[in-house]
């Protein structure tokens, strides 16, 4: 295996992705990711010098909307799915320590 994914890397990616893995899962994830990256490394066989990265397939440009109010008050419909709600707001664990 060319790619070696360290424990720190999996820990770091867990922070980025907000995922908490068990030790068993971490071990598996290190293996899976290394294998996948080895596989993706095939792309390096291709010379892409001077090739513009293509994020959109089509040249659709300038899709704009007028500055006109169309949205109404959807509070109740949107809050209906909230795991926890108070005073018309979404409740989260305190954001400061």
């Amino acid at each position: 295996m060319a790619n070696i994914i360290s424990e720190e890397t999996i820990e770091y990616v867990g922070i980025l992705a907000k995922l908490e893995l068990s030790d068993e899962e971490k071990k598996q994830a290190r293996k899976d990711m290394a294998r996948m990256l080895d596989y993706i490394d095939q792309l390096n066989e291709l010379d892409t010098e001077g090739v513009e990265p293509m994020s959109h397939v089509f040249s659709v440009e300038n899709v704009l909307r007028r500055d006109v109010v169309t949205g109404g008050d959807m509070r109740d419909a949107l809050l209906a799915n909230a795991p926890e709600e108070k005073d018309g707001m979404f409740v989260v664990p305190r954001t400061f320590e």
């Binding site: 659709v60 440009e61 899709v63 704009l64 500055d67 949205g71 959807m74 509070r75 707001m89 409740v91």
Partner: protein
């Protein structure tokens, strides 16, 4: 040995400005202030699954206008990127912003410093969405989220590290504010958060390379900015003097305690994984559209000042103040166009308007008087329908509620009387009642006439023309006539 090191402060600013659009940047929800929590929301600005963003054309217009007004190059092909980070005020847990191809680059604004004028470079301006509001519920020990502000359009103006002290920072912010207000792109109020400045600061010994910088947030007033700059400069110098390193970090300014603290957590990796947002298409700016934007730019302060000097015979000081806000300048120009008396218009604005703004704690942008009403008031004084004191009363009413001056003066009984018989009777009565003053005046005490005018005004319940009374008194007193008969 022992020679004090000379440190230079190097400051760059990241200024966020809330744009004055009717709707949010990517959805049709209102940007109006003051709604109940979460009442200006839809699936898009609350990050509902399956919802998609569509760019508000007005945001692009404003961003490009600000770029043009600050001498930026406009990026002809620009894109939006996602900035990924988890925080509850950010419903998608990514913010749509611009990293790789921001809309404007390489501009500058000129500021006045005590050593003359100075250019502050603008590195870039990009468009992005604002976050929602977090309200800390102390009782329950939790945080509540309101997404009314989520998706409100912002531009972020990133300066070069060209400033060296708080005075320059404030001059730069004032200049940006003036330009943006002239464009009508934002009201730029620091206190209300429609303009927010993050300060990037480092120190270095004179002639050395830039030191490590920190970023300071939560600066809600010029005073806070000034204090934070002084505090951070001192903190960094202390570290360096103690042989320690400055750490590149984000710090939060606590204005109450007068110090900053690091906003660090091991859960904040500060790795935003920017990539082009696949839900939005690129924006390509045509020459024709750009020419339209250029043509639509207003006359800014610099040009206005030159024109005012040529067109209106008013003092430079007045010109400076009047052009210091677009609202004030427009009121001045439009009123002058109606009444043709620049000096009188200026006097009203420089005197009464400024006094009332200060008294009410308002900014010049808040002035709501219509030019036709102010012109009418000036005409009324010209026609001697109203005296100075009454005119000031009318002006104050206009300032507060933009009333029609003629109707207001009529209703409040402020119009001057034109009954000359009554006035003559009143004058004669006053002369008769005040023989001492008559004697004083005739004895050479010029000031005594003022008292007599005042007495007559009182007798006329303020509805007379003091100049006319003054004339009548002088005429009657010029003879030898006795009045006590």
């Amino acid at each position: 040995m022992g020679k004090e090191k000379q440190y230079e402060t190097v400051i760059g600013l990241e200024v966020h400005v809330e744009l004055a659009t009717r709707t949010k940047i990517f959805c049709g929800c209102s940007t109006a202030f003051g709604g109940e929590p979460n009442t200006h929301t839809c699936p898009v600005c609350t990050g509902m699954p399956g919802s998609l963003p569509v760019l508000n054309e007005k945001v692009l217009e404003y961003a490009v206008s600000v770029g043009l007004a600050t001498g930026c190059e406009i990026t002809r092909y620009c894109k939006f990127d996602r900035k990924n980070y988890f925080y509850p005020d950010n419903p998608q847990n990514y913010q749509i912003s611009q990293l790789y191809l921001p809309i404007c680059r390489n501009g500058s604004v000129e500021i006045e410093t005590k050593d003359g004028t100075k250019q502050v470079g603008i590195h870039e301006i990009h468009m992005e969405e604002d976050a929602g509001k977090l309200i800390h519920d102390e009782w329950e020990g939790c945080t509540l989220v309101d997404y009314n502000r989520s998706g409100v359009p912002l531009i972020e103006i990133v300066s070069e590290p060209d400033m060296r002290n708080a005075e320059e920072v404030i001059a730069y912010l004032e200049k940006l504010r003036l330009i943006i207000q002239y464009l009508g792109a934002s009201d730029c109020k620091l206190q209300e958060g429609s303009m927010r400045a993050d300060v990037n600061l480092s120190v270095r010994e004179a002639g050395e390379a830039y030191g490590t910088r920190t970023e300071m947030k939560n600066l809600n007033s010029f005073r806070a900015i000034t204090r934070a700059i002084a505090g951070e400069r001192e903190r960094q110098i202390d570290l360096l003097e103690a042989g320690e390193a400055v750490i590149q970090e984000t710090r939060r300014w606590d204005d109450e305690r007068g110090c900053s603290y690091a906003m660090r957590s091991k859960e904040d990796a500060q790795d935003y994984r920017y990539f082009p947002d696949p839900d939005l298409t690129p924006v390509r700016i045509s020459e024709a559209w750009l020419a339209e934007r250029k043509a639509a730019l207003p006359e800014f302060q610099t040009e206005k000042k030159i024109r005012y000097r040529e067109e209106y015979q008013i003092p430079d000081y007045d010109i400076e103040i009047l052009t210091g806000s677009r609202q004030m300048a427009e009121l001045f120009e439009k009123t002058t166009a109606l009444c043709g008396e620049p000096k009188k218009v200026s006097n009203w604005l420089m005197g009464e308007a400024m006094r009332l703004l200060k008294e009410r704690g308002l900014d010049p942008e808040d002035i709501r008087i219509t030019p036709s009403n102010l012109a009418e008031l000036i005409a009324m004084t010209n026609r001697r329908e109203i005296n100075g004191a009454a005119a000031k009363e009318v002006f104050e009413a206009m300032f507060d509620t933009d009333v029609d001056p003629a109707r207001y003066a009529q209703e409040k009984g402020l119009l001057m009387t034109h009954d000359t018989d009554a006035l003559t009777r009143a004058v004669k009565q006053v002369l008769k009642d005040n023989p001492k003053s008559v004697e004083d005046y005739r004895g050479g005490k010029e000031k005594a006439i003022g008292f007599l005018v005042g007495q007559t005004m009182k007798a006329m319940h303020g509805k007379a023309d003091p100049a006319l009374i003054n004339g009548m008194l002088r005429e009657l007193l010029s003879g030898e006539a006795k009045f006590d008969a």
